[in-house]
């Protein structure tokens, strides 16, 4: 019986401490983690879309077509692919950013709304 009481006491205390530390953790360690996740995500996206490769090879002929017409067509193809992929990259990065901003903002907004509604 005493064990049960002791356990409940410790859990309660533990829970209280958790709630108090919550905002501090959220905005220090949490932010750091999310930021690293953001950087990683963007890097991976960049690499998987092979943007750098597309940029450096912009004037290189595709499929080894070295004729004039081949080169012109290659250039426009590559430009198109680059633009499309860059667009996808922007989309992805924006998504990551939105998530990051959400992380920063969500608790504050919730708190503010709650307070507004209560008082």
């Amino acid at each position: 019986m005493s064990i049960l009481i002791a356990v409940i006491k410790s859990t309660f205390l533990h829970g209280l401490i958790n709630i108090i530390i919550f905002p501090f953790w959220w905005y220090s360690i949490g932010v750091k983690k999310r930021f690293l996740g953001l950087i990683n995500g963007v890097n991976n996206l960049f690499r998987n879309l092979a943007l750098k490769l597309m940029l450096t090879h912009l004037f290189k002929p595709m499929f080894g077509e070295r004729s004039i017409s081949g080169r012109i067509i290659s250039f426009f193809m590559r430009l198109l692919i680059l633009i499309l992929r860059f667009f996808l990259f922007l989309l992805g990065t924006t998504g990551f950013f939105v998530l990051f901003v959400l992380w920063l903002v969500l608790p504050i907004i919730s708190l503010w709304q709650i307070i507004k509604l209560l008082f």
């Binding site: 360690i29 949490g30 290189k60 499929f63 080894g64 509604l117």
Partner: protein, 913 residues
């Protein structure tokens, strides 16, 4: 292992808490951190643990439910907006769920609250994961000095003191709880390591280890229970506490886990730690032939499996980004129809998961990268067949798929050119060369291909136009322009002969691929074992893998690791599946049996039958051979030593020199030993040294240098590595030939003319000689003891025949005594027995009388010539006459022939039926 023990507690177990250490008793030191064990997993702990978990789960569920409620409120708000249309059904269900008509305000409140609690929930989950990692320091503080005694530990702040109990995995906690329960149930005051071991046996991971070690769980359980029974029960019985040894075990387990970079202390580490301390646990396992190394390797094996499946997952994920088909990410490659027709794309195969992984050839792969990055256009991997060259190339293909390669390899294809396909169907002259030219120009233009040519030595000499360059030279000249890279493989003998000194040798850089060492081979086998196990549905014990490596490296000298070990595993899996059925365990004995079958060398454990045979060897031999006890004893002892593995493995089983007059049984003993020990008389290799009297005859023994075959001796031993080598009349051989045997008798090896090393370590070598016969016969007549005679012979009398270093190599020099009358009589009896057997086959019984035997013995006895004349006498007086009788039908089936006195042979005819 650095332990710091509280000086106060060391002597006695105090009933009150020790004032200095507060009951901690012992600290351990680990890279700048102090480890201790406070938590004791007693009943209170177990209950509070369970309750805590329960409460945590309840709270979490409540939070989740509240989150769902928040979602519902959100939905209600959204649907409440005038612009949103939704089917009636959803609105009705929503209204039903939340019967109360809640105002918009309240809904918003609930929503935002639930958002907050969702964040809180996320936070608790992440925090818990971080807490677990806190128990494992990320880096060691090397500069800090280890404290010398208990006092100094007080300087360390709490941050640097770790309670290892916090780092236990769930299973380890269960183990510790069980051991507490066990100790309490058995009324033992202290939890000893044996309690922990007993509880470990219930863990599923440990059960896996036990089955991998090929042990019987029941056996182990029984031994442990017996051991537990020996511990004294204490009265009065107070609270159970940790024994000091147990604390040491658990602290060490933490250190092992930390060094192995695990994130939790699992029962596997506890088991390893238990094995590393002296005590009943170690002894029990030692009795079952398990030592610490075995346990470490099996735990590593289990980790390897987990590692492999993790790697496989990450591989599949990353492989999706490699483009399918011949195009690279930069879109600069061209189509290569000719290359595709004559080769296969290894990167595409790897991408689809068809190529197996390459275990740990980091050094060789780095060397390949270095050479190619350094500017050389070609690398040739040189190694014996079966050593893993193709596996390394496959491993490279896999790395290229996930782009884990230096820049010159990135975004490229690895294509293997098939020489057979290149040559096939080429009918016109110059067609092969043309095909090659076209393919190489495609490769050069494409710029994203690395060519692989296996067994490149096959290219040398292929030409279809007279007097022009062969295709290897064409390749070499194109490669010199460094337009693309080539990886090739070859074997050492062919590389030396065809590549090193020719055109290709200038362009290619050699990278040597050696056999992997024992531990690496075992890892490779562990990975392969997974495949074989799933295919054949048998399980390999760790002992089987170990034995496969050990035995194949000792006895299968014509093949190379890891291939020979892998082939052994594949074969034995099928053999065991056929013999014992599916789901059985392959033990080390099964491997030994397979190797014994292949090499005819007895490597299996001694069976009862064999043990009895070995103990009674002398008796068995004397059934065929009369007298000569010293010789028989020496041979029998040597064989016993050999079979119980107490001999040096680097020499032949035994080297013996038999001296003595002719016809006394020297060769007969050799034949007898062969029949008794090997079971067949034809396991004897007999060389008559009088045929090798010239210097040049050594070529007949070991082969002609540069020739195609080995010599008589080396071939015979190679094909029959476990037999008896009899060298008759060795004093007649040329001295240079004796020098060859010097090496054989000392080192157990001989290199034949083809450069192969023949293994002589499973032979019994017996040399016979007639040297010094007169001296022996003199001394016997004088009555000198056999030891004296042997001594003098070795020291003086044999000097003109043999060099001292040759005589020294023999394990025993045995002088055969000349035969006396008694012995001759016995030999006569034996020879007649043979005759009796032969007649038995014809249905005729031969009986002998004592007098007949004595007469024959006397007639056949000649001290100078030993027992040979006896054979002639029997032949003349008995066999010839019997032959005549048989031909004239004087004796037929069921008749009896009796040898009587005076040379008479009487026939008793059987009754007519």
């Amino acid at each position: 292992m650095n332990f710091i023990i509280c000086p106060n507690c060391q002597e006695k177990t105090l009933l009150k808490k020790c004032p200095i250490c507060q009951g901690r008793e012992i600290y351990a030191w680990f890279g700048g951190y102090i480890l201790f064990l406070d938590k004791i997993f007693n009943r209170a702990e177990i209950i509070s643990n369970v309750l805590k978990k329960l409460l945590k789960i309840i709270v979490r569920i409540l939070l989740i439910l509240f989150g769902i409620w928040g979602l519902i409120c959100l939905l209600k708000i959204v649907l409440g907006l005038p612009e949103v249309f939704a089917p009636e059904i959803i609105i009705n269900t929503l209204n039903q769920i939340s019967r109360l008509n809640i105002s918009q305000e309240k809904l918003l409140l609930y929503l935002w609250f639930s958002v907050l609690t969702d964040c809180y929930l996320f936070y608790t989950l992440e925090k818990e994961q971080d807490e677990r990692r806190k128990n494992w320091p990320k880096s060691t503080r090397k500069s800090i000095q280890i404290p010398k005694n208990w006092e100094e530990t007080k300087r360390f702040s709490k941050k640097f003191k770790i309670d290892v109990a916090e780092a236990f995995s769930k299973n380890s906690v269960k183990v510790m709880q069980k051991s507490w329960n066990l100790a309490r149930k058995l009324k033992h005051q202290q939890i000893q390591p044996i309690h922990v071991f007993a509880s470990c046996l219930e863990d599923s991971d440990i059960k896996l280890v036990i089955s991998r070690l090929g042990l019987s769980w029941k056996d182990l359980q029984n031994k442990v229970t017996r051991n537990l029974g020996k511990i004294k029960k204490t009265k009065p019985f107070k609270n159970v506490s940790y024994d000091l040894k147990t604390q040491k075990v658990l602290l060490k387990a933490y250190i092992l886990a930390g060094e192995g970079k695990s994130i939790s202390l699992s029962p596997l580490e506890i088991l390893q730690s238990l094995m590393s301390f002296e005590g009943p646990v170690k002894e029990i396992l030692y009795d079952l032939e398990i030592n610490l190394n075995d346990i470490v390797n099996v735990c590593l094996w289990i980790k390897v499996y987990q590692e492999l499946s993790k790697r496989a997952h990450s591989f599949v994920g990353k492989a999706r980004f490699k483009p399918k088909g011949p195009i690279n990410k930069a879109y600069t490659a061209i189509a290569t129809p000719n290359l595709d027709a004559h080769g296969e794309d290894l990167t595409q195969l790897a991408r689809s998961g068809y190529l197996g992984i390459c275990m740990d050839r980091e050094k060789e792969v780095k060397e390949i990268f270095r050479v190619l990055e350094g500017g050389r256009p070609g690398v040739v991997l040189v190694g014996q067949p079966g050593v893993g060259k193709t596996t390394i190339i496959n491993g490279l293909a896999r790395r290229m798929v996930i782009e884990d390669v230096p820049e010159i390899f990135q975004d490229k294809r690895l294509v293997s050119l098939s020489l057979a396909s290149l040559i096939a169907g080429a009918s016109q002259s110059g067609e092969v060369e043309q095909r090659l030219q076209i393919i190489l120009s495609e490769v050069a233009r494409s710029g994203n291909i690395i060519l692989v040519i296996k067994d490149i030595h096959n290219m040398v000499g292929i030409r279809t136009t007279e007097g022009e360059l062969d295709i290897s030279e064409i390749l070499a000249s194109i490669l010199k322009r460094r337009l693309f890279l080539v990886l090739a493989t070859s074997i050492p003998s062919e590389y030396r002969r065809l590549i090193e000194t020719k055109a290709l040798g200038e362009v290619f850089q050699k990278v040597k691929i050696e056999e992997p060492d024992k531990n690496a081979t075992i890892q490779i086998l562990e990975a392969q074992a997974a495949l074989i196990e799933s295919r054949e549905r048998v399980y390999f014990s760790y002992g089987a893998l170990n034995q496969a490596v050990v035995l194949s490296s000792r006895y299968l000298n014509e093949q190379f690791l890891p291939d020979k070990a892998i082939n052994l595993l594949k074969e034995v899996a099928i053999a065991v599946k056929n013999k014992k059925g599916k789901k059985s365990i392959v033990q080390s004995e099964d491997i030994a049996a397979l190797v014994a079958e292949k090499t005819k060398i007895p490597v299996t454990k001694l069976t009862e039958k064999e043990s009895t045979k070995l103990l009674n060897l002398e008796e068995e031999i004397h059934k065929r051979l009369i007298d000569q006890n010293e010789a028989v004893n020496m041979v029998a002892s040597a064989l016993r030593r050999a079979r119980t593995e107490l001999r040096s493995q680097k020499k032949p089983i035994v080297n013996l020199l038999f001296l003595g007059p002719t016809g006394v049984g020297k060769t007969e003993l050799a034949k007898t030993v062969t029949e008794v020990y090997f079971g067949q008389e034809n396991r004897m290799i007999r060389l008559d040294m009088s045929e090798y009297q010239e210097k040049g005859s050594i070529n007949r023994l070991i082969g002609v240098p540069g020739g195609e075959k080995g010599g008589l001796l080396t071939e015979a031993v190679r094909l029959n590595p476990s037999s008896l080598l009899l060298l008759d009349e060795i004093e007649k051989a040329h001295p240079d030939i004796l020098n060859v045997f010097l090496q054989v008798m000392d080192d157990g090896r001989l290199t034949d003319a083809l450069g192969r090393t023949i293994d002589f370590t499973n032979l019994i070598i017996i040399c016979t000689s007639n040297a010094g016969t007169e001296f022996i016969q003199e001394e016997i007549r004088k009555g000198t003891s056999v030891e004296m005679i042997t001594e003098t012979l070795v020291q003086e009398k044999l000097k003109p025949y043999f060099r001292p270093e040759f005589l020294n190599r023999f394990d025993g020099t045995i002088v055969f005594k000349p035969l006396g009358m008694e012995e001759i009589k016995q030999i006569t009896g034996l020879l007649l027995k043979k005759l009796i057997k032969r007649l038995e086959k014809k249905g005729i019984t031969l009986k002998t009388t004592e007098e007949a035997i004595s007469e024959l013995a006397e007639a056949g006895f000649d001290p100078a010539f030993g027992a040979r004349p006896l054979k002639r006498v029997i032949q003349n007086r008995v066999s010839n006459i019997l032959a005549k009788f048989l031909l004239t039908k004087k004796i037929g089936r069921r008749d009896t022939v009796i040898l009587e006195k005076g040379g008479e042979i009487r026939v008793e005819k059987a009754q007519d039926l």
